[in-house]
Symmetry: C2
DNA sequence: GCAAAAGTGTTTATGTTACACCCATGT
DNA sequence: ACATGGGTGTAACATAAACACTTTTGC
């Protein structure tokens, strides 16, 4: 142990920006804080990092404890450490962003007694701490990422229609896409497998597809990039 | 102050991956460690975050203390926090990547008495801690970023020739580019300003250019993306 | 005058955009 | 039968890729 270690240390937390998709709009999962500071405010799920767990493990643990979600797509986003971002003292937070498939949603809305709730990404309540800027960074990252990495599928059920996929892209990129061009392009990379099954619904049934990650990765290794 | 704050905390450091360009190859600035652990090994410049400074400030302070560099391009990269990455105990490190213009290089090589030295990015010595993986992440980020953001100019002198720019791109992307197509494309975005001055040299002089950040930002605001 | 790097256009191939109608189902 | 969303192809346009010779300088 060197002298350096006797210096005071910032506290270290993780926070997760959890995105979902309800079929029409992008959603974000927030929890209502029970304790001060910001008691009663909405905030990103997260909490303190323990001494023997790595950062991603901490994020997954907090996510499960606070929202019940497990096994989701999770990726490190950025670290927020301005002095003053937490009124209690110096707290540095490693932010993650998570994508959850609707199958795994804790019952669309609140998970029984917990205080987690899904919000429309466009209509968020005021957030505790600097969570609004963390969320802004996550949104920007998601928008950038969806254009050249296959992360959209993490927000859809395993079997989905091309119309669902297009609606998702339109919601995230916030602009309309041409139906024929969208289908043409996505099917041209052949990592979307058409299934022999159709979605039910009030009108003409739509063919279901699934994302074939093995095929995607084989392509990706060959220096392939898909852009939209 | 709540009970939470009495938990043990990881130590928090910043580390900087500093890239340079010597006209032919990509370079990385390393410092030789004087103290254990890894005394005598090469490592990324960096050190402990102080309680009242934000993360970027800490990175800039350490960079200046250890290498003399100031005023460089600096961007947060990723945070590395696996338990065990530092033999002394739990140390979480926020990594940054920096780009320095050759003008600012501390005298191409060692800065007087300090133990900083530039290495070819392809021929690095073994590094302390998990710095090799931090460096790998930085390289990957640089390669991705240079294709759609004007970061190349941060590695060249303020006035440069198109040939220098092309060599830089070729070094980072690690593939040859067509001279005519490269010039055509970069000049078509008109953020490169031709100057009335020429590079000296053993052969035909080359026109010097500078990067006009104002023009670039005006374009960028109009939803423009340059890709290479 | 020769070696070395700078500079310059055109053609071809590829990818992107724009666009309108018929189909299958539930009500 | 009608309302609703599913599904399909082609032509115009724009961008990317391939490619070779002349110019200017220092030695």
């Amino acid at each position: 142990m060197t002298y350096t270690y006797e210096y005071p240390r910032p506290a270290l937390t993780v926070d997760c920006v959890v995105f979902g998709f309800d079929g029409s709009g992008l959603q974000v999962l927030l929890i209502r804080r029970g304790v001060e500071p910001f008691a009663g405010s909405w905030a990103l799920p997260g909490g303190f990092v323990q001494m023997e767990e790595n950062l991603e493990t901490a994020a997954r643990r907090e996510l499960e404890e606070e929202t019940g979600l497990k096994g989701v797509f999770l990726e490190q986003l950025c670290t927020f450490g301005d002095p003053g971002r937490d009124p209690r003292g110096r707290v540095v937070s490693v932010a993650f962003f998570a994508l959850v498939q609707p199958d795994q949603h804790p019952a669309r809305g609140d998970t029984d007694a917990s205080d987690a709730k899904w919000f429309e990404a466009g209509k968020l309540p005021p957030l505790a701490f600097d969570h609004a800027s963390i969320l802004g960074a996550a949104l920007e990252r998601l928008r950038g990422k969806i254009r050249y990495q296959p992360v959209g599928f993490e927000l859809l059920p395993k079997r989905f229609t091309l119309a669902q996929l297009q609606t998702l892209y339109e919601a995230i990129l916030d602009r309309p896409l041409d139906k024929r061009n969208f289908r043409k392009k996505l099917l041209s990379f052949d990592f979307l497998v058409p299934l022999d099954d159709y979605s039910g619904g009030a009108h003409r049934p739509a063919r279901l597809h699934r994302f074939d990650r093995r095929k995607y990765e084989a392509l990706a290794r060959k220096g392939f990039l898909f852009e939209l």
